[in-house]
Symmetry: C2
Subunit: 230 residues, 2 copies
Amino acid sequence: MDRPATLHGEILTRLRDHLVEGGVPDGARIPEKDLCELFGISRTPLREALKVLAAEGLVELLPNRGARMKALSVRDISELFDLMGGLEALAGRLACENITDAEVSAIEALHTEMYGHYLRGNRHGYFACNQQIHEHILMAAQNQALAANAHAVMGRIRRVRFAANLDDRGERWSAAVREHELILDALRRRAGAELATILFNHLRSKKLAVLRNIEAGEAPEPRQKQVTVT
Amino acid sequence: MDRPATLHGEILTRLRDHLVEGGVPDGARIPEKDLCELFGISRTPLREALKVLAAEGLVELLPNRGARMKALSVRDISELFDLMGGLEALAGRLACENITDAEVSAIEALHTEMYGHYLRGNRHGYFACNQQIHEHILMAAQNQALAANAHAVMGRIRRVRFAANLDDRGERWSAAVREHELILDALRRRAGAELATILFNHLRSKKLAVLRNIEAGEAPEPRQKQVTVT
DNA sequence: TGAACGCAAAGTGAATGCAAAATGACCCTT
DNA sequence: AAGGGTCATTTTGCATTCACTTTGCGTTCA
């Protein structure tokens, strides 16, 4: 939330954003020297930030061979989506214990707005509303440890998810809208256990859609294009 | 799993163990100089390890004021137990999809052994079997990302859990045995959603027991005893 | 001609040095 | 005597430096 006044703390945030936003292609080497020049700092705070990002699973740190952008295998993606499903399931379960009627109404409003975007085919608006709904549920769970964990996992799959959603076709869209209606229904009834299962299956559906897109569209070898110049 | 041949990697593991095993009391300052002498290294790799441990939530890193052992508030403990419950629930859900009959049998055997320890009043053996059962379910889930996450959360609450279990009375013990029977039953039937709820509630029970012990036994101010000499 | 050896350059891992901030003690003022 | 302020010491943050590993290329020998 509040970034410390230390250099390595600021670098950690900036570097994480830089990597998540797609500044480096999958599996590419990340020379310390380049990043030092990019941020205008010495290697010490940069290396500290890299260690943390490696612990978060965003980069891979091979001994004496430096940092590489963690290339997610199909297996990794599958695991991360299931993990995210478990965390969202937990968020839903806890939300049912704590959420107020006003917060449920806020989510209902978001759902309505999202449905409008769906009808108008506004992909960006739909995606933003979708994310906000899940964020609201996460907040309603009133659990900082869970929120931090969920955000960390989300960061690891964001680039994959973003790429997959762009290729997504309509049939998955309509299914997602139906699933969201189930979510809202369970939330209104404060049916925690039920909502947990719905949310897990919701992420399971997303996972399957993403995996289909990957196996269909992307070649087995990691493609090298879209190398943004730093 | 495999520790790298690097110094900071080894220090990270050793320092984490040192902290988790209770080498430092809650809220105490952790001067870098002392740790350097303890491990016989310079400050650079030590600081890198500290950054990672701060990201894991084990220590607190205040700018220009060094590292402190993270003192868990009652709220923190509550949140972490719920988070652990969500992760175990996910593990159970996934385990039901993947587990073999042989693995179920192995867990049944552990449960039987644990029941024996319960009857004989062998606290240590009971605790070990209990942990092994949950570890088996976690393995059966076949999800490395989940396992790593669960172990990280477990590390954060281990000291609290250990201290609380020592003060635990019999009535909670017998309840735990009954809950384990429910877990096994759901696992045999591969009832994933049901098992998830059971496991979440199982951790919820543990949480409540721990919180009762804390509010009953421990004074509002953090007690300073049990300072192990390094 | 191809493969193996060796050397040089680059990059990483860890230690040291230096500046700034914080802690604590002592002194001064009231 | 109590409170506040100043200075010295300690500790942290970051840069720099040194040492070792890896790697790419050229040479040599089969």
